[in-house]
Structure formats: structure tokens, C-alpha cells
Subunit: 305 residues, 2 copies
Amino acid sequence: MNTNSAQQEALYNIAAVERDTGLSKDILRVWERRYGFPKPERDHNDERLYTLPQMEKLRLLRLLIDSGHRPGKIVNQDAAELSQLISEQASEKEAPAEIAAILDLLVRHDIDGFRNALLQALMKQGLLRFVTETVAGLNHWIGEAWMAGRIAVFDEHLYSEHVQNILRNAIVAQPGLGNGPRVLLTSLPGEKHRIGLLMVEAVLAAEGANCVALGTETPIIDIKNAVPAYQVDVVALSFSSAMTQSAALAGLEELRGLLPQTTEVWGGGAALSRARKIPQGVLLLRSFDDMRYALERWRVEHARS
Amino acid sequence: MNTNSAQQEALYNIAAVERDTGLSKDILRVWERRYGFPKPERDHNDERLYTLPQMEKLRLLRLLIDSGHRPGKIVNQDAAELSQLISEQASEKEAPAEIAAILDLLVRHDIDGFRNALLQALMKQGLLRFVTETVAGLNHWIGEAWMAGRIAVFDEHLYSEHVQNILRNAIVAQPGLGNGPRVLLTSLPGEKHRIGLLMVEAVLAAEGANCVALGTETPIIDIKNAVPAYQVDVVALSFSSAMTQSAALAGLEELRGLLPQTTEVWGGGAALSRARKIPQGVLLLRSFDDMRYALERWRVEHARS
DNA sequence: AACCCATTTTTGTCCAAGACAGAATTAGGA
DNA sequence: TCCTAATTCTGTCTTGGACAAAAATGGGTT
């Protein structure tokens, strides 16, 4: 790591920037060539050294591009203008009171209070509503709070850990009905978002499906091998906005080609929310309700046996 | 994705190979240049198209390199010779009976049986012994079984998920004593091994420490920012063998420099097990017992208040 | 205006071949 | 046997060019 802590002024090499911004080295280099930004310093060996402000601006750019802006039009705007654009994006609305209250505990670093608030919400709402309302809402509003600079990276880490604890706990406690399909649940390499996966698992468990969770980033070939081993009826994949739509569709298509026709393939998540052409034989789930309908349909179709 | 499903013969572009083997595009290209393998086909636009056997061999290579072999010496051996090397790696010993029994359930894909066996071990041994004996043993023997080809990638994924579920559940259920230090627990970017982190958290919880877990891969600057926010006494970092010793030591030293002297820094894990020179002001924990002594020492030193 | 198709622009990914620093190995000496 | 110095190995970074897929634009037609 190229950090110059003596001067309090950190410099990051291209690999660190790729890791922290999610923009590939190729993109960083080609933007520099085409648009003149980011124009990093160079070390004695002519290798790029990015400054912290450049990284911060790159993060803003990533955010805006993910939500529809074109790189060429915004790369050369300064940080203030970008923040302006982001705040235009950010909904004017305030978070609902229940969400705002929980968020406030997180911002204040009141760990126990935060955990208890989550647990109370779970008790009050039940697993299904807790996931689709409270957790989904928190995910969204934490994103907004992050954009506004009101939440730190470590707060997000803490949030992620506690939600994992609570969801895993609740999933295990769910009674297995046993009349649903056996669903293999995972994500493809590159997709690290665990909360989304756990939310899906919670909903599936609450609806009586029999879940086989493999965590994140299972290579496609290993998913294929797992299907006969665990005698799976459905393979469900989750894609967050961290993954591009084309990568998600390509992965789904490849997997579909490897699996027997009797195994269903379901895909969902932010990366697919705007997808139009879905590979044949893949079921696109745009919402948790879609998933519940898909489960219901599966039950009806397999009721004869 | 470049899949030619009509001929049953799939071809993968370089991005797909990077994703599925974990070998970067740069590595794939430079191996081809230097060693002549892998020498993929080319599409109409001269872009690389790898075959499935090439991918499989690349995976074997990755395995061997991760466990100490040098690329230049093994890249040009054929798949049979590589498998031979892999089986030589595996130790001759058998796993202890308790471990072997649990492992057998995993190999047979008996998910419920596997889970129940873990739970029973936890009940019988208590959290502390469960972690230091059963989980530590399973980690080791699953590694061996994987090298011997007796366990698949997806089995490991499933193992990881279930152990996470059980440990997180048990940690939460642990009564908070409140007379121990507040310990911030995480790993540095690049270190993804979650089980090790949870094992540490379990032991800390069982010994009455007050744990603030941030999950894996927290950037150093964010660890520094979290220390005052959560009023932490100790920062504990976990390093698996996936990380090099030098990277681990460099990270510890950088962090030590950023934190106030009143905050202790502890480090442990496989990457540090052979370390000699430890950065000043960092406590090296070579075992779980070391950690318990460190906790005890902290309690004594802070008993006056 | 709303819809559809063709053309143009934008944008991400891939390529080659060279360079170099840090890690790993070997050689040499105490 | 241990430690240090020289050498080899290996991963990552470099440039500038190329191209295809995606997105935007232009121009008709309904």
C-alpha cells in the first residue's frame, strides 16, 4: 500500500483505487486518456498514485453512473457539482419515522440500542415484514445517508454484521414446512453483497421453501456440481448494483446452459431491475412479491406428485 | 459470454476465466507469453477463448501455487501429474473420530445431519471448546479433504455458512459480563476469511470481552476512525494464510502508527504464526490461549479504576 | 405526439510487448 | 547451522491502439 503517513497525505496505487471504488484499472486508465480525469501523480517508476480527493470524486462518479448518468458528461464536473447532482437524485423525502429512529441509533454509535431496535422491529413485524420493510428500508436509507456524508464506512460494516446476526438467527428459528421446493441460494463471483442474499433466504424460509445457502461468490461450475449433489429444484441468484447488468445476464445464461431443463433458474436484485431481454429459461424476480408468486406457482405445478 | 452450447463445448473469454479461477487477466496473459500455457483459441477479433479443460487445469495450478509450489515449475505438467502433486500434499494421518464423523456427513451432503452434529458438539462441549477443538479441527481437515479431492467447493461454501450460523447464534446468546475490554474485531482489505474472525469473536465473548465486530476487510483509515467512535480499548485483527506475512505485518504497523498509544493492537492467525519481528506496540497472539492470557492481563492492569 | 428503425457516438474491455520491484531461491561465508 | 548477498522468478503496471455492444440521436411513419 502506498500511503505516506508522515505527511498525513495518503496516495493510492491503481489496485487500491480499483478495490475501493469498484472501477477497473482499464476504466481508470481509459478515462484518464479520454477525459483527462483522474490525472494521478506518478511514482519514481511512472506508476499512478491517486490522491484521496481523486478517490472521493471517483466514488461520486460511480454512484452517478450506476444511476444512469453518462461518464463523458460528468467526469469533468467538480466535486461540488457532482454532490449537487447526487442530492438531486436523493429523494427529497425524509426516511419514515421507524427507519429514521433506527438509523439515528447507528449514527450515534449506540450499539446496544441499535441491536435492540432491530430485534424489536423483528418481534413486532414478523420475519417477512421485517425483511421487506425494515431491512430493505434501512439498506436504502443508509445508502442515502452515506451519500450525504452522515454515515461512516465502519457504521455500515457494523450495520451489516448486526443484520446478519439477526437474520441468520431468525432464519434458523423458522419452522421448516417442507412442501416447498429445495432452493439453492448463492451469488456469482464478484458479487459480495451478503445482506441481499440473507434477505432472500429469510423470505424463502418464511414462505416454507427448503433453502440450501452457499453464501456469496460461488463459481458457476460449482453451482452446476452442487445441483445434483443437493437435489435442488431451483437455483436462485442475487445480484446487487455492485455488478453490471450485462455481467449478471451473462452469468445467468451460462448457468442456464449448464443445468438440466428440470432445474429452474431464478435471478433477482438491483443489477437486474432494468433488464429487458432475459435469457430463455430464466425467471426474473423484480421484487420479493415476485418471488412469493414464483414459489406459489412452483407449488401448484408440482402438486400432482 | 462466449458459450458454444450447440457443440456442447463451452468456450470462455478471459473475463470469465478470471472470475472462475481467480487468476487475473494479467497473469493469464503473462503465463501464456512466458510458459506457453494456457494457449487459448482466438475468436474472429483475436480475443482469447479458453476451453473447459484449460480452466480445470488452471484451477489445479491455483491450488498448488496457493500451497507453495512455483508456477514456472508446474505450469507445463499435465493434469494427471498435477493431481498427483495435490494428493502428495495431503497428510497421511486420519482425522480424529469426532471430526471424521462430522466430515462424513458433509461429504454425503446430509445437510440436516451435518447441522445437528455441529449443534450437538456445541451443546456437549460449550462454546469455548467447540471453537478451539471442533471448528478448528474441521477447518484443518476440510482443507486436507479438499486437497485429496474428497470435498467439493460447494461443500466448503455450505460448511462456512452453517458454521457462521451456529457461531453467530451462540455468540449472541453469550451473557455479557461487562468487566472485560471493549475489543474492535475485524480484518484488513484482502483478508476475506470470516470463520476465523467469528471464532475469535466467540472466544472473546465466552471470556467476557465486549466485542464490536466489523466483519472482514475494513480499510485501515476506517478502523482508525472507528476507535474513538466506539470507544474501543483493543483492536484485534485476524489474518488467515490467504494473506502474506509481510502484508499482515505492514498492515499492523500502519495501524499502530495511526492509533493512540492507549489503544492496544492485537494480531493473530495463520499468516502470523511464523512471524519473528513484530512491530513495536503490537501484541502477537499465536493461539487462543494467548488471547485468553492477554484478556486476563488487560483485566489485571485495568483493575484499579 | 408516439412509435420504430437506421445511423452515429459513447464506452468498456481486450490486445501486445516491455519494464520493474518485491518475493523466493540459491550461493557463499561465518 | 545460521545469516547475508546475489540471482532468478513472478506479479503487476505501463502505453496506445482496436473493436463491439450499448446508448443516444436522427428521421421517417403512423
